[in-house]
């Protein structure tokens, strides 16, 4: 054990963990004996759903498991650069953090102090006084190294960025700055916890390339993620974590190509561009139609933003149309226009061939039963005081058919059965339900008025992959059984592939590509579509 004390990059593992158990006074044991070895120049991915213990593992590796709660960390072995980290005191960990191991968290907006300049944040690892390591680097030297780190992280104009605050940077630049802040002191080990989760596909790809570059220059990288696309891009080996246990481990290609465990197989299947919706009835006449739609938002500092710029779209009865694009592409604004939640500055929306966006709200109210929204965040769209029963009864009150109105309790239970939820859910408040259950309640609520069109706004983006698959299966089943037309807004091509027949790709407020799903995905013509696809393929 002591023989490896002098181990630097290249000799022996940078990180060696065996039988790691972490328990909290409330919540019990979260990790039940995890083994992990990372060598210099190697990237090991830790994947798993929410609640698998990934983030606790990442924090334990930098000695921060006990944040906020008293954590009990035990292991057969926990060695950092050959030193026994189990015997580290608080001071030892402080000396090691930033110098021997760096941590990158998700959500770079929250992970960089919004009141300090980017330069101060990046330079902090150089500025801190490390117990037993002499004085911090001199200020001039520090400034140079900060600029060099920002430059290496691929930020244009590092000198300008260093003086800006995190809020003035775009999401991708913030994430790069955060990575720069973790590696500025050149730690041999980098732990990245979901570094690409909040980013658009194209931006995420570039951040992953940055991580790959660090790996190639000799840094050992632990990549904690739920995104198998990211894993395929940079990881040499994969560890699959489920309920605090490693259920499968091996080289990336082997694990992703031929997963052994059922859990891994589910993850891989959900990450692939899966099957289409299968046989559905041929589409009928157009139910929802937008012509020449345009929406311009004034910006706070003057000027304006054209969110939707001359879009034509038609949805036929029984058809499912996917609306994809990166954030800011205008897909959500377009959905709001179609729903008549917002009025277009130019153009018109027709419902069943009759005026829809042009009507005054008073006249539109009676027609609203024909088109319903399934929101991204179901919790934000229900009154926190109400139970599921009250929510469904209110939704049923707007149904055009008197039969549903007569016995609303029975109708509510029937709606829940249709989305495969037990009737007990009726008397619970949505915030006590799981994410998947909430989304099913939201779908039941939307179905209550027997609409002809469902607008789904990122309906599964907040859910774990397995839960996503189940909700998407439900959507396909509803298409087949009820023939309801769907408009599905998503940034995830796999979701669109599973449910939709046709797809519209948006960028900068315009539709840049459209057509049947197999054709567009099989031979993408526009660079945005290709980027989105590249992020998906495992």
């Amino acid at each position: 054990m002591t023989g490896a004390a002098a181990a630097g990059p290249g000799a022996g593992p940078v990180l060696e963990v065996a039988g790691l158990r972490v328990a909290f006074p409330r919540g019990g044991e979260v990790l039940h004996g995890v083994d992990l070895r990372v060598a210099a120049g190697e990237c090991v991915a830790v994947v798993g759903g929410s609640g698998a213990g990934k983030s606790v593992l990442a924090r334990t590796l930098v000695g921060l498991a006990g944040e906020g709660a008293r954590a009990d960390v035990r292991a057969d072995r926990l060695a950092l650069l050959g030193r026994d980290a189990l015997r580290f005191s608080g001071r030892d960990w402080r000396a090691a953090r930033g110098r021997d191991v760096g941590l990158v968290l998700q959500d770079a907006l929250g992970s960089l102090d919004p009141l300090r300049t980017v330069g101060a944040e990046v330079g902090e690892a150089l500025a801190v006084r490390r117990p037993g390591a002499g004085p911090a680097a001199p200020r001039v030297d520090r400034a140079e190294r900060v600029l060099a780190a920002l430059d290496e992280a691929g930020l244009p104009d590092p000198a300008v960025r260093a003086r800006q605050r995190p809020g003035e940077l775009s999401g991708g630049m913030r994430q790069r700055a955060l990575i720069a802040s973790a590696v500025v002191a050149r730690p041999p080990l980098l732990v990245a916890d979901e570094p690409t989760t909040a980013l658009d596909a194209t931006v995420a790809a570039r951040v992953l390339d940055l991580l790959a570059g660090l790996r190639d220059s000799g840094t050992a990288v632990v990549l904690v993620t739920h995104d198998l696309g990211a894993v395929a891009r940079v990881a040499d080996r994969v560890l699959v974590l489920q309920d605090g246990r490693v259920v499968e481990e091996g080289p990336t290609a082997a694990v992703l190509g031929a997963p052994r465990e059922a859990y891994t197989r589910e993850l891989v299947a959900a990450a692939r561009l899966g099957d289409g919706p299968g046989d559905v009835a041929a589409p009928g006449a157009a139910v929802l139609e937008g012509r020449g739609l345009r929406r311009v938002f004034p910006l706070p500092g003057g000027g304006s933003l054209t969110a939707v710029d001359g879009v034509d779209v038609a949805v036929r009865a029984g058809e499912a149309v996917g609306l994809v694009g990166e954030s800011g592409s205008g897909k959500t604004t377009l959905a709001r226009l179609l729903l008549a939640a917002d009025a277009p500055d130019a153009g018109e929306v027709l419902l069943d061939g009759r005026p829809w966006s042009a009507l005054p709200e008073r006249d539109r109210r009676a027609l609203r039963s024909g088109i319903r929204l399934v929101p991204q965040d179901p919790l934000g769209t229900v009154d926190p005081r109400l139970t599921v029963r009250a929510v469904l009864r209110a939704a049923l009150a707007t149904a055009p058919h008197p039969s549903a109105r007569r016995d609303r309790d029975a109708a509510a239970a029937a709606l829940l059965a249709r989305v495969h939820l037990p009737a007990e859910v009726l008397d619970r408040r949505p915030r006590t339900l799981s994410g998947g259950q909430r989304q099913r309640v939201a779908i039941a609520r939307a179905l209550a008025s027997e609409p002809r069109v469902l607008l789904l706004d990122e309906p599964v983006s907040a859910l774990d992959v397995q839960v996503q698959a189940a909700v998407l299966d439900l959507l396909v089943e509803l298409r087949r059984d009820t023939g309801v037309a769907m408009v599905l807004v998503s940034h995830d091509l796999g979701v669109v592939r599973r449910v939709c027949d046709r797809v519209l790709v948006m960028s900068g407020g315009r539709v840049v590509e459209q057509g049947p799903v197999p054709e567009v995905f099989g031979a993408p013509a526009h660079p945005v579509t290709r980027d989105l696809l590249a992020a998906r393929v495992v």
């Binding site: 930033g98 959500d107 960089l112 009141l115 801190v128 940077l169 933003l305």
Partner: protein, 350 residues
């Protein structure tokens, strides 16, 4: 060079516009307050001649009444009186006190410094107490430390609701009557005499600011940026001083304007209790005597003081939080449009 000048102008202009807007608001507040106070008091207060001639039950003859009315312009129509009063306010001539027969501006100038000294000292002491308690409570570890932190938390809640008239009375009983350390009555800037009034005013505000600070400090300590700082090797002391303290102090700075107002409320009670001359006492006496010019002058002065304090609070907030300084256009910085677009899109979808 030219680019730098353009940026500089872009920075300065919103700042100037902001200052002008604040000054405009101050003038508006002063005008509305003066108008409302004038008409309210004249509408409900009956004939002020009585106040001029020595209060109710004075034995003045009709000639004396007529002379007094002419002297104070009370024989003019109400609107004319109002306009005269307004013009005087604009020229800092607030007329003469009915009861004391001296110019109101003189009275106010005499009483303002003492009250301001008291309020500023109390606010400073409140900040020191609140900061000490909040940082101690946040850093407490171990069972004993946590028990102390919980006790401090309770003390903050009680302190925040302590009425000035009672706290002051208890302090007098303990430190003046019993121990004899400090005098129960005082005036001017005698430092020993200032202690009890200052403490009386400061403790409730300290309790309030302490709670606000502790809440926001705890929130900041749990934020991801604090975790990131720890992950870079920052010590707990460094995380507090370089990161969380600024976040913890910001809401308390914003509320200091309100706190200052409550100190002026408290000054009325404290000056009465400790027998100190000051703006609060003056306002109380004028209210009881229906001395309209003094009440108008004192109230407008209090309103202006509040506006000035709010201005200072604004400046302090902007110094502490660069996000408030407005989006300064830096050439070639994208991302400026992304949050704006998000702000433009309402709740449900998005």
């Amino acid at each position: 060079m030219r680019a730098a000048a353009t940026v500089a102008r872009a920075v300065r202009r919103p700042w100037l516009r902001w200052l002008l807007a604040r000054l405009g608001a101050a003038v508006l507040v002063a005008w509305v307050v003066a108008t409302v106070v004038f008409f309210a008091l004249r509408a409900a207060g009956g004939d002020p001649t009585e106040a001029i001639l020595g209060g109710p039950g004075s034995q003045a003859g009709p000639e004396a009444v007529a002379a007094a009315r002419a002297q104070y312009g009370l024989d003019q129509p109400l609107v004319v009186q109002y306009l005269v009063q307004l013009w005087r306010v604009l020229t800092f001539d607030l007329g003469d006190s009915y009861a004391r027969r001296v110019p109101v501006s003189e009275l106010l100038a005499e009483q303002l410094p003492g009250t301001m000294l008291l309020a500023v000292l109390a606010l400073a002491l409140a900040w020191v107490l609140a900061l000490a308690v909040a940082t101690l409570a946040v850093r407490a570890t171990g069972p004993f430390g946590r028990a102390c932190a919980a006790a401090l938390r309770g003390a903050e809640v009680v302190a925040a609701v302590l009425p000035h008239f009672w706290l002051g009375a208890v302090l007098i009983v303990v430190f003046s009557s019993t121990l004899g350390w400090f005098p129960a009555t005082s005036s001017g800037t005698d430092p020993v005499g200032l202690v009890l009034p200052t403490v009386t005013l400061a403790v409730p505000v300290a309790g309030f600011l302490g709670q606000v600070m502790r809440d926001s400090l705890e929130e900041a300590a749990a934020a991801p940026f604090a975790t990131s700082a720890r992950a870079r090797g920052a010590s707990p002391v460094r995380v507090l001083w370089r990161h969380t303290l600024r976040h913890g102090v910001l809401p308390a700075v914003s509320l200091s304007g309100w706190a200052f107002g409550s100190l002026l409320s408290g000054a009325v009670v404290v000056e009465t209790l400790f027998g100190r001359p000051g703006l609060g006492r003056l306002l109380l006496d004028a209210t009881m005597q229906r001395d309209v010019p003094v009440v108008v002058g004192a109230v407008v002065l209090v309103a202006l003081a509040y506006v000035v304090v709010m201005l200072l609070v604004d400046v302090a907030e902007r110094l502490l939080d660069p996000r408030l300084r407005g989006a300064v256009a830096v050439p070639g910085a994208p991302g400026g449009s992304a949050p704006a677009a998000r702000a433009g899109e309402p709740a449900v979808l998005g």
